[in-house]
């Protein structure tokens, strides 16, 4: 049984690294020690009018320092509250939650789209194989330098302001890239396209999915996704993104 902790984390530092995109480092007592690439944590609001946790994926893990790096987009009142906090402020967090990415040795595509880019950084750091990192943005770039440390980075932007004009698959084609396994996180249309690409090229494909959550630990059945086969726990064709996921074999889930 995976170890999970509820802690008062302390903000080491926070900065806005792109429009409405914030980078926050948190000091944790135990969570960083147990966290794996591709897992997430639940962050609780200090304001009593918001009672549900915000699931935020883990961008980097510094086990030596017991620190977690989170990069999130301000999407509502909860993240609005988080982004205003300064060094030393406390946040109640629970984690590590979900299952991370498997780490295989084949030549890999590490693909991130938009706010799906951050969770791929720790994986890029840990994977020991030939890494082709493909990052898709609307326009403004972030975390690119961090990714360059761990592999060759290819960019795609919707407005063509950097790299290939278009999406990550356009970048893959334009650069004539290929790989034997895909690890990806990003918007649904991107994940659908990558699933199709993986089937077409008959390669393994692991994707990290997102859904509205309540408990974050698998009890409430809010954040389900449809599974190809009957799930052992639910006894229906549904898997819990917070528990069986957020990382799934693309072939196993219908979306």
């Amino acid at each position: 049984m995976a170890e999970k902790f509820r802690e008062q984390a302390i903000i080491i530092r926070q900065e806005e690294i792109a429009d409405d995109i914030y980078s926050m480092w948190l000091r944790t007592e135990h969570i960083a020690e147990y966290a794996k690439a591709g897992q997430f944590i639940s962050i609780y609001c200090n304001d009593g009018s918001r009672i549900l946790p915000r699931p935020i994926s883990i961008c980097e893990i510094d086990k030596a320092d017991g620190a977690l790096h989170l990069v999130y987009r301000v999407a509502g009142k909860g993240t609005q509250e988080f982004c205003k906090l300064h060094t030393g402020a406390q946040l109640t967090i629970v984690g590590p939650l979900g299952n991370g990415f498997p780490k295989k040795s084949q030549k890999a595509f590490i693909i991130g789209g938009g706010i799906g880019i951050p969770p791929m950084l720790q994986l890029a750091k840990e994977l020991d194989c030939e890494k082709q990192i493909v990052l898709g943005y609307r326009d403004e770039l972030f975390l690119v330098e961090e990714f360059k440390k761990y592999g060759s980075v290819y960019l795609a932007t919707e407005d063509g302001s950097a790299g290939t004009e278009g999406n990550v698959l356009d970048a893959i084609r334009e650069n004539g890239l290929s790989a034997d396994i895909i690890y990806a996180c990003g918007p649904m249309p991107m994940l659908r396209a990558l699933k199709a690409y993986a089937i077409e090229h008959d390669i393994e494909c692991w994707i990290s999915m997102e859904e509205r959550m309540a408990c974050g630990i698998g009890a409430c059945l809010a954040c389900t996704c449809q599974s190809k086969n009957k799930d052992e726990h639910s006894n229906v064709n549904n898997k819990r993104i917070c528990k069986e996921g957020p990382v799934f074999r693309a072939r196993e889930v219908e979306f």
Binding site: I51, L52, R212, A214, C215, C220, A222, V236
Partner: protein
Amino acid sequence: MNTSVNIAGVTFKNPVMTASGTFGSGAEYSEFVDLNRLGAVVTKGVANVPWPGNPTPRVAEVYGGMLNAIGLQNPGIDLFIERDIPFLKHYDTKIIVNVCGKTTEDYCEVVERLADQPIDMMEINISCPNVKEGGIAFGQDPKAVEAITREVKKYAKQPVIMKLSPNVTDITTMAKAAEAGGADALSLINTLTGMKIDIHRQQFALANKTGGMSGPAVHPIAVRMVYQVAQAVDLPIIGMGGIMNAEDAIEMILAGATAVSVGTANFTNQTVTTEIVDGIEEYMSRYGVDDVCELIGAVHE
């Protein structure tokens, strides 16, 4: 100091239970909470066959609460009996199984399957739409409440708790109907029907359009209904609805509840249930209350 309460002949070590649907069958929360410290675990609603539930999004946060439209996804009674009951039997707590269905026959089938199981009570969720009656919930029509209670009691070997819907004009008529049908206890409130709209996409926040509202926002409505029902019937009441801490739990007991169920609060604080157990004991020692039963319905003008 006595913290144990008795409901329909079943003794609970303390009045703190989990609200159905928020706690699964306890496995996930057992990583945070010692289930042995709970008065009872009330499991997520189970039907005669597996239900896939609703499309997502299934939940939305609202001010001081949340909406849910899970659609009663459940693995069905067979796997539940094979897996969930044995899991809970490892703990020294009472087991209350919540039952849902689409027709009276569905309910009775599940209740019959549970009759010879080592569980302590059953809670019947009558907020489900009655598909044979045009989809109005059983719990919104007194005749339907009395009828389903009477039918279920024919098959039940354990005491039966009828869980009332708050989406009614007069909760006491529903309580009396359940009493007339032979209910052994009542639990209330189930969720209030709410809706949230995303003004930027101009779409419903939930795929199901409406959802059941829970959380501290609904607590005053729950306290009012528990008080009204306690005045209207002689059945023991399990009070629930937005209980976030010991103070809320004690308020519910003072209003007339013999026990309380804690639901949405588990999402905000994984260990809230045992904190409430401790908080009730602290309150009792602070005010010199020897027996928690002295607090039941003790509110006065």
